[in-house]
Symmetry: C2
Subunit: 245 residues, 2 copies
């Protein structure tokens, strides 16, 4: 069997997230498996680097699949380009070691959350950013972000119910970058719990608006209570930017 | 009566163009008149700076309307912001001389046509650019564009049927600018015939692909035959950028 690694870009707006579901065919995994199965005549299982929620986008999502198909990389790429919907693009494909697993082998992931800080919404970016016209205190936001760097129990920063699964994760960096009318919050870590990036962003935005003191972020982390952290930031502002292996 | 000038940005994707039509309520003018009429209790007529075709976008479209409404500019702006669909934004509003007419007073207009030259379509820009992965000869395109500068009869560059209306227009500038993965073709002129910018772009793209020699553009202009010019470039790449008064 050949094992292919794919780099995928998608506009998540109309999808119910990455993961295949019985109730809907509007999932990225579902669309990819349908086209690859048709292409190969096999029952293709696509392994993704992780789930993305309904409405979340990806610039460079990584997935892999096994097949007996002997087509060239270019031929597969061309087929996918022609038959996938216009909001999903496989940007590159490479033959990898049979043991490569897009989820198990992840070393870290980088997400970016895009905020439009202009007075008015941008009609062309409205599906790809969260519009916050009020001023944000970036110095305080950066201070608050510092408390989250490192290895911590992020139980307070997920909507996952407590279970016996570990909620300890390591965040390597949070960069808050001004980019014209936009504010990009880039988060890199070894893994993320359900909704974790969006709750981190929601919490930092509370700090930016002055509703939460930057020093309270550390307390929220220690208290591990979801309701003390900020609200879930809108899905449409979130992009999976890169996956490191 | 007070006369208000508005600067409007819209994503034209789902609209049948600027101009109100009996058959559909999906027009920019129609949406604006409906909201302004509700706001004022009057039958508001919105005068636009010109028609844009179905699917064409605007960064800064100019329109005006007369009203007895005594609301402040900010209050009107806020009302429009709240009640217009999310793909239409009135970015500013100002009280102008009662005689100001958004169409009659136009001195010139600038359109920009955006081309994505990357190998793959960009899922986030797919509705706001024309995707041309083949290489384009910019030097030849710029040469071809030069022939169009000045005052000419653009009969060959419109889908308008010949009539006794003048088809003479002046093009002041055509700038072809590389912008990362994008190519922006900016056209400034005193006025444009129906489909004229898209046919100019379609013709320059034929030159860029080597299907037409840059020296032939002048001949097409002189022959005034629509079928000698290039095809109509897709609407989704075209933006009305600015109107000069």
């Amino acid at each position: 069997m050949r094992n292919f690694k794919m780099t995928i870009s998608y506009d998540g707006s109309r999808y119910k997230g990455w993961q295949k579901q019985k109730e809907t065919d509007l999932t990225i995994q579902g669309k990819l498996e349908a086209v690859l199965s048709k292409m190969t005549g096999e029952d293709i299982l696509v392994v993704g680097c992780g789930r993305t929620d309904s409405g979340v986008h990806a610039e460079n999502y990584i997935a892999n699949f096994h097949t007996k198909c002997t087509w060239s990389n270019d031929a597969i790429l061309y087929y996918l380009y022609e038959f996938l919907p216009e909001d999903i693009v496989v940007k590159s494909i490479e033959l990898v070691n049979e043991r490569f697993h897009a989820r198990y082998n992840v070393k870290s992931k980088t997400y970016v959350y895009k905020i439009n800080t202009n007075k008015y919404r941008n009609v062309f970016e409205r599906k790809y950013s969260y519009h916050i016209p009020e001023p944000l205190d970036l110095i305080e936001m950066r201070k608050g972000a510092q408390s989250l760097i490192g290895t911590h129990d992020f139980q307070g920063f997920t909507n996952m119910k407590p279970s016996n699964k570990s909620t300890v994760r390591t965040i390597h960096a949070i960069n808050i970058v001004e980019n014209g009318d936009y504010l990009d919050i880039e988060v890199n870590g070894d893994g993320f719990l359900w909704n974790m990036v969006r709750i981190i962003v929601g919490t930092l935005l509370e700090v930016g608006r002055g509703k939460l003191n930057s020093s309270e972020v550390e307390k929220i982390l220690q208290e591990k209570k979801r309701w003390e952290a900020g609200p879930l930031a809108q899905a449409k502002g979130l992009f999976l930017r890169e996956v490191q292996y």
